[in-house]
């Protein structure tokens, strides 16, 4: 059951979306990344992130009917269909009995400071007596932070600046959070250059896939995460694990977002038959060689966009913390929001079983 817990931040009325869980299980606070909203954690398919089903089998040939002219070459370019349904973090945790809380961070494309101030308010709110929150059950005694992308740096910043804020914190899990920065912030035009690397006829399609990422890395929220930035240096300076808190980091090493597909005329579409009109157009779906899939084919200018090293926005080697246990998965950045394998790994951590890493 979802409950709305109102709070006020900077004179704005906002709310935490809380879902109930089993007594005794920790409350999982879900933090989205830069440019995100609470939907990242509750309904990622509504956020417009690339979630193409690049493993979907090809459909059968399509009959386009008879024509007066021969069908030759490419009929159209397209991308994989969306993968659905996507199981959100809120849903999978709820299904496994964990209470959850999430909210849309203020100014999620801006510098992290205001998001930090807000998170302090949110955590204080969640620690209020249950009667004041009008929750049906007692809030969980323990708290887990599960953070995607910049949300992981937000968690670190709050815990460093407010070490005593969350005495009941047991676990911090970050999903593809660029703890050591992202070179895409240093080279903000890289993703735009990637789009331009593709043939002009398909750049509109590639913009559909990569355009939002290209815009994001130019935002102040991501610029703050440039490798070697004052913010990151300051955050790491004197930082350590909080006593009694377990830290887990995840990194992604797949830049595969979608296959680039093309409907092409079958050869028989070019051969006339004894028919009026003479050309029977039949098209077949194929994967475009060399430049598909996106973005495996692009020159790996930085590790963030190199398959086997990055996840489109972050590099696995820069998603680590010296005091955390790290796991690498072959998934891309948005897939962290719904990947069943990653969800199983996190559930395993929450169930105190980390055996899969050994």
């Amino acid at each position: 059951m979802a409950i709305t817990i109102p709070y006020t931040f900077n004179d704005r009325d906002k709310s935490i979306e809380y879902t109930d869980g089993d007594a005794g299980k920790p409350l999982v606070l879900l933090l989205h990344g830069a440019g995100g909203t609470s939907l990242d954690m509750t309904a990622p398919d509504q956020r417009g992130y690339p979630h193409y089903d690049y493993a979907e089998p090809f459909p059968p040939d399509r009959d386009e009917g008879w024509s007066a002219y021969p069908g030759v070459g490419v009929w159209s370019f397209t991308l994989d269909n969306p993968k659905e349904p996507l199981i959100s973090w809120q849903q999978i945790l709820q299904d496994n009995g964990f209470p959850t809380a999430t909210y849309s961070q203020v100014d999620s494309t801006g510098p992290i400071q205001s998001a930090e101030d807000e998170l302090v308010v949110v955590i204080n709110k969640l620690q209020m007596p249950p009667a004041k929150l009008e929750l049906p059950n007692l809030p969980a005694k323990e708290l887990v932070i599960l953070a995607h992308s910049r949300g992981g740096l937000l968690a670190r910043k709050v815990l460093k600046d407010h070490a005593d804020l969350v005495p009941n914190l047991t676990t911090v899990i970050t999903l593809d959070s660029p703890h050591l920065g992202s070179e895409l912030a240093n080279l903000a035009n890289t993703l735009n250059d990637v789009i331009l690397w593709f043939p002009s006829s398909i750049q509109p399609l590639i913009t559909q896939v990569l355009g939002d990422f290209a815009n994001l890395v130019a935002q102040p929220a991501w610029q703050e995460l440039a490798v070697g930035s004052p913010f990151l240096m300051d955050l790491a300076n004197g930082e350590g694990a909080l006593p009694g808190v377990r830290y887990f980091t995840f990194g992604g090493i797949s830049v595969k977002l979608t296959r680039l597909l093309s409907w092409v005329y079958n050869l028989e579409s070019a051969i006339p038959q004894w028919h009026w009109p003479p050309f029977h157009h039949v098209i077949t779906l194929i994967e475009v060689p060399v430049i598909s899939p996106v973005a495996n084919s692009v020159p790996p200018v930085v590790d963030e966009i190199a398959n086997g090293k990055g996840d489109i926005l972050t590099a696995d080697k820069r998603c680590r913390l010296p005091f955390a246990v790290h796991q690498t998965n072959a998934i891309n950045h948005p897939e962290c929001l719904w990947d069943p394998g990653l969800q199983a790994q996190v559930l395993s951590i929450l169930g105190d079983d980390t055996g899969f890493w050994e």
Binding site: L267, I271, F279
Partner: protein, 130 residues
């Protein structure tokens, strides 16, 4: 960008050609039937289809095929010229298409297009090979 196009199955195509075939001679000749306006229908017995009158490119293809299959006898049995998909000249009789293992088709399409005009001329030849 090198595009990989799907290959065609020759037998499959011949079968489709045969299944889509309509004998235009029978369709347009006989009691109460008439040839559509603008179409010339000829009988191959009266107007034999001479190989020498075929477009040069199709004759070259045929010569290439003969060279690869020496001793083969090829007889042209049907001819159709379409302009923008509409038949203009048809040479056909009441005979059905050759069986699939004797079937051979040739064609040539030439086009002309401008901002206000498109002309697509296709010539289709059906032959029997033995």
């Amino acid at each position: 960008m090198v595009q990989q196009f799907p290959s065609a199955n020759p037998l499959d195509f011949v079968r489709k050609f045969r299944s889509n075939y309509v004998n235009l001679h029978d369709l347009w000749s006989g009691d109460g039937k008439q040839v559509p306006e603008g179409v010339t229908l000829r009988d191959p017995k009266r107007s034999p289809i001479k190989e020498s009158s075929l477009p040069e490119a199709t004759r070259a293809l045929l010569a290439e095929y003969r060279k690869a299959n020496p001793g083969l006898k090829i007889v042209i049995v049907k001819y159709m010229r379409t302009v923008n998909g509409v038949p203009e000249t048809v040479v056909d009789d009441g005979l059905e298409l050759p069986p699939e293992d004797e079937f051979l088709s040739l064609s040539q399409t030439v086009t002309l297009s401008t901002s206000d005009h498109i002309r697509v001329v296709t010539e289709i030849i059906v032959a029997r090979k033995k």
